[in-house]
């Protein structure tokens, strides 16, 4: 009897007649997969349940815990700073995802044409995605600096007024969004490029024979066929967008800058939990973020489902 998966299903189930003495014959397999489950139980599952328990307490991390029931959650739903953080997170997500998707698509179309140095372009565009966010946020904080920043020097040189990128509420959001675009545009271009290359050439040939021009071909053939890849990209950007922390924390500091304009949900969580040492309220914020993310995921999923249903019914 073999442990290997049979290539074709056997006629009779082999497992049914396992003799008692071979009860432990799967032990090596269970041992082989156990590290992940042990680590997840200790550092994943247990902490998640424990954080629910924590959210019902007041605790500074050192002294005794004090049971306060749902007080933390009652505070959370009326906490203007938390709502501000939710708003900031979504504004920054939209301000980064929309331009990023358009730019990534343009770059992918460029890389898909017959130009030279394709390999080098791919590496250049992908590089920001693997570079330390802390390091590049430090560089961007100098680029966006109001007085000595290269960006404002450039604006002055072409006759425009300098902008208080890191001192104005909207400037802060733009700066954070630009950094996110810079970091993710190449990654998404590479994914779109793979999607473009997966479109069979004879479909374009058929469109050409039917008399479709380049613009018509792009909107009627290329874009619809890229849909699965673009959905992947939007889902990824939604997952990452809800977790934005480092860009904001390094660019404008722990407190999120002027009028908390750069305070994202995770930055607010970090502040309350690890700078204010309010572990109970921090746990409640973490659950609040989880609820926001779940609602957002459901809305996303609905939006993705609808056009497909329309296509089927047509």
């Amino acid at each position: 009897m073999t442990d290997l998966l049979p290539r074709k299903a056997p006629s009779a189930p082999a497992v049914a007649q396992v003799p008692q003495r071979r009860r432990f014959r799967h032990l090596p397999q269970y041992l082989a997969i156990s590290p992940f489950y042990i680590l997840f139980l200790v550092f994943g599952a247990y902490p998640v349940f424990y954080s629910l328990y924590l959210a019902l307490h007041r605790w500074d991390g050192i002294g005794p815990m004090q049971w306060i029931g749902l007080d933390n959650f009652a505070l959370l739903v009326t906490d203007a700073e938390f709502w501000n953080a939710i708003g900031n997170t979504f504004i920054i997500w939209v301000m980064s995802t929309v331009p990023m998707t358009v730019l990534a698509l343009l770059i992918a179309l460029g890389l898909n044409s017959s130009i030279r140095f394709k390999g080098l372009y791919r590496i250049a565009y992908f590089m920001p995605n693997v570079t330390s966010v802390v390091a590049m946020a430090i560089v961007f904080s100098s680029v966006f600096s109001t007085e000595f920043g290269i960006l404002n020097s450039f604006l002055s040189a072409i006759g425009l007024d300098p902008v208080g990128w890191l001192t104005d509420p909207w400037g802060i959001k733009v700066a954070i969004s630009v950094m996110i675009i810079w970091r993710w545009v190449g990654y998404n271009a590479i994914i779109f490029l793979a999607g473009l290359q997966a479109i069979p050439a004879d479909i374009y040939e058929a469109a050409r024979i039917d008399g479709a021009g380049p613009v018509q071909t792009f909107f009627r053939v290329t874009l619809p066929l890229l849909r699965p890849v673009m959905l992947f990209s939007v889902v990824m950007s939604a997952i990452n967008g809800m977790q934005v922390f480092t860009e904001a924390q390094v660019l404008v500091g722990d407190r999120g800058g002027v009028q908390d304009a750069g305070t994202t949900m995770v930055l607010y969580f970090y502040n309350m939990a690890f700078l204010e040492n309010d572990f109970g309220y921090g746990a409640a914020i973490a659950w609040g973020i989880f609820v926001v993310v779940v609602i957002f995921a459901i809305i996303n999923w609905r939006l993705i489902q609808r056009p497909e249903r329309a296509e089927v019914s047509r």
């Binding site: 442990d3 290997l4 998966l5 799967h26 397999q29 269970y30 082989a32 590290p35 992940f36 489950y37 680590l39 200790v42 550092f43 994943g44 902490p47 998640v48 424990y50 954080s51 924590l54 991390g61 730019l103 343009l106 770059i107 460029g110 044409s113 030279r116 791919r122 250049a124 565009y125 992908f126 590089m127 570079t131 330390s132 802390v134 390091a135 430090i138 560089v139 100098s142 000595f148 290269i150 020097s153 040189a157 810079w182 545009v185 590479i190 994914i191 490029l193 793979a194 999607g195 890849v229 992947f232 977790q243 922390f245 480092t246 969580f269 970090y270 572990f279 973490a286 659950w287 973020i289």
Partner: protein
């Protein structure tokens, strides 16, 4: 000029401009790291490399324990990568090629762990580390990251397609046990997948920031990212010093990326199209 040539030139030109903008922050980092702070603060700013890199670096080494942080980061990244490659590939190989009771349920649980957001577990993880006495210890960064659902999920698909059952059957006939089959037969075949997962894990571990910031911040065992952030916080306006440290901190990883870039980018793209 034909229309198609014009489109090509336009496309090529836009790509080049985009690449210049993308790479500009790296260039600007190098300019700032090689000039003095007063050179950087002149109007219009100096746009060319200076000759002060080594002076600036000397200041960095005098201000923070750069090599200590570098060593910590290397230890964390290497240890995490080795453990992830071993545990993930072993689990993936088992899920892909063996049948055992509860296999599908266990794999379902593994997939479900994807949806657990990291900050939900962060505070209790911190108290677990405090209980274990691991706050400020590199173990707190390595051990929780030693196996992950993404790697197992990704490797399992690779195992299923790259490892023919005949090969494993032949190994069994030759008397190889479970672990020998994994180590001597499966692992060599899995090398391309291990290379991708290895670079991916190494880069993620190297750049990780939030958790090291939480667990390492008051300790003497800083990782490079936390040390950089502190350098920026303390010496913020001393640009040449901060930028020299920043430049030196991103170089090792850029080298790793450039060596593996072709393979790495190809796998990122393939994963998205298949998934």
């Amino acid at each position: 000029m034909t229309p198609s040539l014009r489109v090509k030139l336009l496309g090529g030109g836009l790509l080049a401009v985009g690449a210049v903008i993308t790479l500009f922050p790296y260039y600007w980092l190098a300019v700032m790291a090689t000039n003095t702070t007063s050179d950087i603060f002149t109007t219009p700013p100096k746009l060319t490399f200076g000759s002060h890199l080594f002076d600036n670096l000397a200041e960095v080494f005098a201000s923070i324990d750069f090599f200590g942080s570098l060593l910590n980061t290397v230890i964390v990244a290497v240890a995490t990568t080795v453990l992830v490659l071993f545990f993930d590939s072993l689990a993936a190989f088992t899920f892909a090629k063996y049948r055992f009771p509860g296999r599908n349920v266990l794999f379902g649980i593994l997939l479900a762990t994807f949806v657990v957001p990291t900050q939900l577990a962060a505070i209790p993880q911190f108290s677990i580390m405090a209980t274990l006495g691991w706050v400020g210890d590199l173990k707190a960064l390595i051990i929780p990251a030693a196996a992950n659902a993404f790697g197992i999920f990704w490797m399992r698909q690779y195992c299923a397609s790259a490892l023919p059952d005949e090969l494993l059957e032949a190994a069994r006939m030759d008397g190889c046990g479970f672990f020998r089959t994994y180590w001597n037969v499966a692992l060599p075949v899995l090398r391309p997948a291990l290379a991708f997962l290895g670079i991916f894990t190494f880069i993620s571990a190297w750049n990780d920031y939030l958790w090291p910031l939480i667990i390492m911040v008051d300790s003497r065992n800083l990782t490079l990212q936390v040390a950089l952030s502190q350098l920026n916080g303390v010496y913020g306006t001393d640009y040449s010093l901060v930028m020299a440290g920043t430049l030196l901190a991103i170089l090792p990883l850029l080298v790793v990326f450039l060596i593996g870039s072709r393979h790495f980018i190809k796998n990122i793209a393939a994963g998205a199209v298949k998934g």
